[in-house]
């Protein structure tokens, strides 16, 4: 029976362990962080809903057999959402699994030799290939056998399971690079030289919030060395990768750190000694693209609708008489009953006939032409699919987003439905742009692959005054395949989520009109016209009313309530936060630049104080409801805490008390505050901590040392006064500024009790006190 990989029996033991760990976790005997590390390695991820999980199932080369898929759907029905989800990583997932059912799913998968081991965690992830490899008339050669055998080899090597970070591998069947080899840790592109099969090898690419394009590692290797390269890179990564930081430990960061020469040297150190060892060569499976003979009755179809379907979704294979067929899924989800009818039919046709593709659709292959009618009827009768729409719509990619993902800001699934609704029923000639890629992610993490889209969107927090609304960054300009050079899409502008469908309508109607003039060259269109068009349209849709005027703008697609900060999960991956910071940073920089020309200077100065105060609050897990509160929180957590110099206290207090007229006198200081906060942000390391910043001592050259402890509560003001005194010599003087009330009543007494002399206390015009102390 065909399988796309083989697991070691050790796996069963590991599953027993997982079962015990789950039981202990339920009893509260394992802490959640530890449990997370255990389950993620088994491809079990927690969803946004507590105690609900998704299980990611390995499908090497995107392959799964009808028997396996049917079983997966049955498990999804019994223990999950009732749907099998096809992902951009060419695997399938079961969603909404309650903790007590995890083992039922995992053990059920064993029955059909499927496994979720390595679905997550720091290991060899699902190995991808071009979805039509082996049947594509433009195949250089079929790369699936390599992915399949490499998977079995690598997942059964113990040293694959504790790498510094995940390790992604992809194979493309030709230079169109549909497997995005330059956006992955290790990528092979099929290329024949002098009659010998082989690969160009790229490495150290990756999408994610910090995308990097891969580099050419080896001009060309004979196909017999495919394993040797993977092995060498794995060992090299294992030895040199950064294990301390969770966020910058992918191979791409290692390349960046070491730079090309050193990286290649270290790789060669591992590769050269083994590269000619033929005993390591992969023993490729004989994967046949053919149909078995079947007694199934044919069910022919004809008519306009059948022909339209065939034109849209059926493709010729390089094997004469066989067809490949795209099953357009809604949001990548396949319902149990649809899976049943498809798999029952497919099982009749053979085993090697399903692939997952990168656009969350199901690809069928090796279908005899004579049976296309049967398939047409089955697909047309699916309870849930996008078969009634042009392929453009099912080719859209979206991550799961805030619906299940804790990191999600927006809900791309809701948006995707809204786009289908808006465009599917419009007059746009979408059949002319079937290959156009609209990819959407709910946050900067690229699970929806917005970096390789023709138009990409990724969720961001929009801000209107103190309110937040769902919004997307718009990306364009990706360049994949055409002869090696890959470019990621760049951000062009941003647009409120609610306007994306209208925006797309406007944009695409221009592109569809112009496509002929540009001879289909989208890059050229973008450069000459498209990017400006995006900006113009974003401008058109930029306006956001207040919540009272139009609450709808604050509800994301697919969510019936407004977005709140609570929706953003804990900073497991802290992206998303950066957007919020960016909003304030831009404002500050803009206002500093234009301060001399603004109409209402005092209001602008006030805004600078407000944005400076709010900008970094989120890094401390703080949220402000009002402007005043932002200023208060900033004073406490940044100024009092010593991250920002005390000298700004005065202007903060003035702003807090809304004494805006006073601000004019302190313009220089306020601009300085803005710049200080922006600089502080630059100093932030990846863990959102600050590298520097202790308040500078104000040296008492002529007079006493002065310390401003206004805003510091008891007893911390006393503690700090004591510490300040400790740095002085006996007889030195210290002046401290204290708030009225408790501070002035307590601190001088406590200081006196320690034997120091309180020389005098002086009430200041602003209401605080200045206290002069002499150290004993």
């Amino acid at each position: 029976m065909l399988t796309f990989y083989t697991n070691d029996t050790v796996l069963i033991l590991e599953q027993d362990q997982l079962e015990e760990d789950i039981a202990e976790f339920i009893k509260g005997q394992i802490d959640p962080i530890r449990f997370k590390a255990i389950r993620v390695a088994h491809g079990v991820y927690e969803q946004r809903q507590r105690d609900t999980y998704m299980i990611r199932i390995r499908c090497a080369a995107g392959g799964i057999t009808p028997r396996q898929l049917k079983k997966t759907a049955e498990l999804a029905d019994a223990y999950g959402s009732g749907e099998v989800h096809f992902t951009t990583r060419q695997e399938v997932q079961v969603h909404d699994v309650l903790i007590e059912n995890i083992m039922n799913v995992i053990r059920g998968l064993n029955e059909v030799e499927l496994s979720s081991r390595g679905g997550g965690g720091n290991t060899i992830r699902n190995i991808l290939t071009s979805a039509d490899s082996g049947v594509d008339p433009e195949d250089v050669f079929d790369v699936d056998p390599y992915a399949i055998e490499l998977t079995t080899r690598l997942i059964n090597e113990p040293d694959s399971w504790n790498l510094p970070r995940k390790f992604k591998i992809a194979f493309s069947n030709n230079s169109k690079d549909t497997a995005y080899t330059q956006a992955t840790c290790l990528g092979y592109v099929a290329e024949i030289r002098n009659g010998q099969k082989g690969f160009r090898v790229y490495c150290a690419g990756g999408m994610g919030a910090k995308p990097m394009v891969g580099h050419l590692l080896l001009e060309w290797i004979p196909d017999t060395q495919a394993y040797h390269v993977a092995r060498a890179l794995k060992v090299m990564f294992d030895k040199n990768g950064n294990r301390r930081s969770k966020f910058s430990n992918r191979i791409k960061f290692l390349w960046k750190k070491l730079e090309q020469d050193e990286f290649v040297r270290l790789f060669k150190l591992e590769f050269d000694p083994i590269k000619d060892d033929a005993s390591l060569n992969l023993v490729l499976p004989d994967l046949k693209n053919e149909a078995k003979s079947s007694n199934l009755a044919k069910n022919p179809a004809q008519g306009d609708d059948y022909e339209l379907w065939e034109k849209r979704f059926v493709f010729d294979q390089k094997q004469a008489g066989l067809k490949s067929v795209k099953v357009p899924l809604r949001l990548g989800d396949l319902l149990r009953e649809d899976a049943d009818s498809l798999c029952d039919f497919l099982a009749e046709m053979g085993e090697n006939n399903i692939r997952c593709d990168r656009a969350q659709n199901m690809r069928l292959r090796n279908i005899p032409e004579a049976y296309l009618g049967n398939l047409y009827h089955i697909i047309k009768n699916m309870k849930q699919s996008l078969v009634q729409y042009p392929p453009f719509l099912s080719n859209m990619i979206n991550c799961t987003g805030a619906q299940t993902c804790k990191l999600g800001i927006c809900l791309p699934r809701g948006l995707s439905d809204a786009i289908c609704e808006r465009l599917g029923k419009s007059d746009l000639r979408l059949d002319e742009i079937s290959d156009f890629k609209v990819n959407m992610s709910g946050c900067p993490n690229t699970c929806g692959m917005h970096h390789v889209a023709d138009l990409g969107f990724f969720g961001k927090i929009g801000r209107k005054e103190a309110e937040i609304y769902p919004s997307y960054n718009v990306m364009a300009g990706a360049h994949v395949g055409q002869d090696g050079l890959m470019l990621y899409a760049q951000r062009v502008d941003e647009i409120p989520s609610k306007h994306v469908p209208d925006f797309l309508y406007d944009f695409l109607s221009v592109w569809i009109e112009d496509k002929k003039d540009y001879a289909g060259n989208y890059q050229k269109f973008l450069d000459e016209k498209g990017k400006d068009l995006i900006k113009t349209l974003c401008e058109k849709y930029r306006f956001v009313p207040t919540y009272e005027e139009d609450p709808e703008m604050f509800h994301d697609w697919g969510r019936d309530r407004r977005m709140t900060m609570d929706d953003m999960g804990t900073a497991e991956c802290s992206a998303g936060m950066f957007d919020m910071i960016d909003v304030d940073k831009k404002q500050i920089e803009e206002m500093i630049k234009t301060i001399e020309t603004v109409e209402n200077k005092k209001e602008t100065l006030y805004k600078i104080i407000f944005h400076s105060s709010r900008m970094l609050l989120v890094t401390r897990g703080l949220e402000s409801k009002t402007e005043t509160q932002a200023i208060e929180l900033f004073a406490k957590h940044f100024v009092t805490a010593g991250l920002v110099n005390d000298r700004f206290q005065d202007v903060l207090t003035l702003a807090k008390l809304d004494l805006k007229d006073e601000l004019l006198k302190h313009q220089a200081l306020i601009l300085d505050l803005g710049q200080t906060v922006v600089d502080l942000y630059k100093n932030m390391d990846d863990s959102l901590r600050f590298k520097t910043e202790k308040t500078e001592e104000i040296p008492g050259q002529n007079g006493p040392v002065v310390k401003d402890f206004r805003g510091v509560q008891c007893p911390m003001n006393f503690v700090k006064t004591k510490l300040a005194l400790e740095t002085l010599k006996s007889g030195d003087k210290l002046e401290v500024l204290l708030d009225n009330g408790e501070p002035i009543e307590n601190v001088p007494n406590s200081i006196a009790q320690e034997g120091h002399k309180v020389l005098h206390k002086n009430k200041q015009a602003e209401g605080h006190w200045s206290v002069l102390i002499e150290k004993v």
Binding site: M716, L723, E726
Partner: protein, 268 residues
């Protein structure tokens, strides 16, 4: 002054103390304390020293956590059963105070490793539960000129003294360990768990006093208490000229592992 804002807040109740202040707290942060035995005495001592910010805490114990330990060894929790005591303790210390560096020695303190382990520490806490170990710690510390706190508990009673170089040692008072099995150990006689807490925290306080130079240590004195009557008393001690270890004509010149009661080998 190198305290961070965070540390200033964390240790504010120390800093406020006139005798400690920022300077004293920095001494604590730079200090290194070795705790031998992570059981009834070592557990509370480790908790308080960690909270206080002792820069480096060394933990010596070869045992794993047993369910019978949990009645008094408060640094170990039920899920830790079967885990090495030093690892279990280290995990808790890390949670209490990330400032603290914990070094673990998952072995018993013996004549062979004693001096090697001791050498990096400023102060030693004897948290062991058997006489051979207590004598070994005494001998090793006297030889290595390391100050240490001795502690012992049984049933409802506790006793403790602090040794600093040049002052009375444990052997000045008790010449040699009692024969194996002659004196019951906790595992045979039982102990009220809270007694371990009382004594262990006294030992922690002695360590902090030594580090900061505050107050008078239990040097040349032994504190004895009985929790049934809650009577505390201190007995004066003198350095004994005929002490076999630190006396005028010492007979002990190398470290000895005394025979240990059989049951002690199993139960900590």
């Amino acid at each position: 002054m190198n305290l961070t804002e965070n540390q200033i807040e964390r240790y504010s109740r120390h800093i406020i103390l006139q005798d400690i202040g920022g300077v004293g707290q920095e001494k604590i942060l730079n200090s290194k304390v070795l705790i031998i035995g992570t059981g009834g005495l070592g557990a509370p001592a480790a908790l308080y020293l960690a909270a206080a910010g002792v820069g480096t805490i060394g933990l010596v114990d070869g045992d794993v956590v047993d369910i019978s330990n949990l009645q008094r060894q408060v640094i170990h929790f039920t899920p830790d059963i079967g885990v090495l005591k030093v690892e279990s303790a280290k995990a808790k210390i890390n949670q209490i105070n990330p400032d603290v560096i914990v070094k673990t020695y998952a072995e018993f303190f013996t004549a062979d490793n004693a001096l090697v382990i001791l050498k990096d520490y400023d102060f030693v806490i004897d948290g062991t539960d058997n006489f051979p170990a207590k004598f070994l710690i005494n001998d090793a510390c006297v030889m290595a000129k390391k100050p240490f706190s001795h502690g012992g508990i049984l049933r409802f009673a506790g006793q403790t003294l602090t040794h600093t170089p040049g002052h009375a040692c444990y052997r000045c008072v008790f010449n040699s360990p009692p024969p194996a099995n002659a004196v019951p150990t906790c595992s045979q006689a039982g102990v009220l768990g809270a007694i371990a807490g009382m004594l262990g925290t006294i030992q922690a306080a002695e360590a902090l006093k030594f580090i900061t130079g505050v107050g008078e240590l239990l040097v040349d004195r032994m504190l004895i208490f009985d929790a049934k009557s809650m009577n505390f008393r201190t007995v004066k001690l003198k350095k004994n000229p005929s002490c076999p270890l630190c006396g005028d004509t010492p007979k002990i010149t190398s470290l000895i592992d005394y025979e240990q009661a059989v049951c002690d080998l199993k139960k900590g």
